[in-house]
């Protein structure tokens, strides 16, 4: 189980491939469920050309760790990888990566979604967007991933 913050651009697919290679669970896992969050160039009707991801060093890592442990207490997981970007990011940069390896798909699907929803509602990160016109604004709230977007 790995939880880490990254202050530089990372390739989520390479991170997963490397982690899986090193995990020592070949032949044991039948299911891998992955979520990758990526910065869009558009939000709430405006073009966005950059974003700053603030976090609370210490508490952020602790919350992420707790969320993954809580998932592990509810679902069978052979391994987990969680990477979250911090600092200044650009459109198309990966913001977050969650990967869960399980024997069976139900566990992997449920656990990865649980981790993402809890991360969105509990992990101390805050986004400040820079719009195309140069203005900056704080994103005020995350929507629920279980409800349909309008």
């Amino acid at each position: 189980m790995t939880v880490k913050l990254s202050d530089a651009v990372f390739d989520p697919w390479q991170e997963i491939a490397d982690h899986q290679q090193a995990a020592g669970i070949a032949g044991k896992y039948g299911a891998t469920a992955v979520f990758v969050g990526t910065m869009r160039d558009f939000n709430q009707g405006d073009s966005v050309c950059g974003m700053y991801l603030e976090h609370y060093p210490g508490m952020t890592e602790r919350q992420l760790q707790q969320i993954v442990e809580q998932a592990a207490s509810q679902w069978q997981m052979l391994d987990t990888l969680l990477v979250h970007r911090v600092g200044q990011v650009e459109p198309n940069d990966t913001l977050v990566l969650v990967a869960v390896w399980s024997e069976h798909r139900g566990d992997a699907f449920d656990a990865s979604r649980f981790i993402m929803e809890n991360l969105k509602s509990r992990a101390p990160f805050w986004k400040r967007e820079t719009l195309a016109n140069g203005k900056q604004r704080w994103v005020e709230t995350n929507s629920s991933g279980y409800k349909r977007q309008s």
Binding site: Y56, G58, V96, M116, L119, P124, F125, W126, W138, E140
Partner: protein, 77 residues
């Protein structure tokens, strides 16, 4: 007692500083700590707080040496 206070994100912009080192009398709740640190500011809507990096309600009591953080709703992921 001595309390370290931290502010994050839009709250840091609003109070105009990243933190305070306060000496305050016990007993004191998180909400009272906010009011002592920011006597001229209303309590923000949807104010979140943590004591020593764990979420805490606004009526939790703070202890000597605590690190108390105030922040708006989180928007990661």
């Amino acid at each position: 007692m001595s309390i370290k206070v931290l502010y994050f994100a839009s709250l840091k912009d609003q109070v105009g500083r990243a933190g305070d080192e306060l000496v305050v009398p016990a007993p004191l709740s998180v909400l009272e700590l906010w009011q002592q640190a920011n006597p001229d500011l209303p309590v923000p809507n949807a104010l979140l707080a943590a004591i020593n990096m764990n979420y805490a309600s606004l009526d939790s009591l703070v202890s000597d040496g605590d690190e108390v953080a105030f922040f708006p709703p989180v928007t990661g992921g």
